[in-house]
Symmetry: C2
Subunit: 192 residues, 2 copies
DNA sequence: CTCCGATTTGATAGATCGCTCTAGCGTGAC
DNA sequence: GTCACGCTAGAGCGATCTATCAAATCGGAG
């Protein structure tokens, strides 16, 4: 039996992503995890906030791996960008527009209301930007241009997720993909 | 004395934007509006959902005007894009990174949980896209390219809002501005 | 087997949630 | 004056929220 703590975190990650942080109840989480209520406070003594923080950081790490998967073992930057956006679009369609960014909803909810959780989301975004910068720099792009390109791509992806989930169409993701390709080509053009 | 309904809607708009839909209580709203609790149900008989829907649609209309302000009376498309992003960055800084998009937080919260409200956010985004398409088409860009450019700009702006609020820096907005300028120049290049 | 810490239970507290209800106030019509 | 009606006013309902607590249970060490 997979550890109770892992099941609670998995349920929390799924529910926070779909219903938001304040929109998800602890009872709902333990019910979906098939765990007794008390166990939640055994593994997360500081309660909902601690669970939220651990879910944010762990989800952030899982998405970090996508940078390596899409860009770590290829010399085709543009192809990697297109594959990443296409994969996001497919996941979105398959989950009925529920599973987009694992932390965006929570990030907006807590940005002005809960400093520890805001910090957790900021750490995740920072880690993504640093990882993207390092990976893109492999293509010969300068450090600063690689960082800018990463922020541009992450920004386009997050924004497209909002519009796609609301409009229930993948068109914004397709547009964001094309925009990111444009930005990638522009960054590559600076390479002598 | 500004109408009680208006004060309730203004308070709701501010609190929903900053704390989210589920994160805002009705008692909190009437307290901030200085209105009696009963008045809320007098003006919004269907309760929180009706208030949420009216706030979303009214906030959407207010932001719609920004398209005209920034692009309605200029022949400088790139300058308008830069001014729009600069204005957003200034507002964000002035409000301690609280006031970004009025509906993005709610849009993500309700996308998979509340169909009437999801529909309301979708109508707002659709109105923005249609308005942007019409305004950008004035610059000689073809209908389809103007629509794509609009989605690209809105997408970049929304994504930059997420990162900026979380990271508490306007850097993502600056990057999104540059990316949108790139997209605008590319769209203009197709004009013969 | 005994013992002990780790984990599992779920009842329950105390606060807050969205919402309903009734009573009263104030102002314009007549 | 007085009637009607839009609005104010807030107590209180049932449900749900996060969090606490003590008791039951399990599993490995000796």
């Amino acid at each position: 039996m997979a550890g109770t703590k892992d099941r609670i975190m998995a349920a929390g990650a799924e529910l926070f992503r779909r219903n938001g942080y304040t929109g998800t109840g602890l009872k709902q989480i333990v019910a979906q995890a098939g765990a007794p209520f008390g166990s939640l406070y055994h593994f997360f003594p500081r309660g909902k906030e601690q669970l939220g923080e651990e879910v944010i950081r762990s989800s952030g790490l899982m998405y970090l791996q996508l940078f390596d998967i899409h860009f770590g073992h290829t010399d085709d930057l543009v192809g990697g960008v297109e594959a990443a956006f296409a994969g996001a679009a497919e996941t979105l369609r398959e989950t009925d527009y529920a599973d987009a960014c694992p932390i965006a909803t929570v990030a907006l909810e807590v940005a002005s209301t809960n400093e520890p959780l805001r910090k957790a989301t900021a750490d995740v975004f920072t880690a993504w930007i640093d990882a993207g910068t390092a990976v893109f720099a492999r293509f010969g792009i300068g450090e600063e241009a690689a960082r800018t390109l990463t922020i541009s791509v992450v920004t386009s992806l997050e924004g497209a997720f909002i519009l796609s989930r609301s409009l229930r169409t993948t068109e914004p993701l397709a547009v964001a993909s094309a925009t990111s390709v444009l930005a990638a080509r522009a960054a590559l053009a600076t390479v002598s």
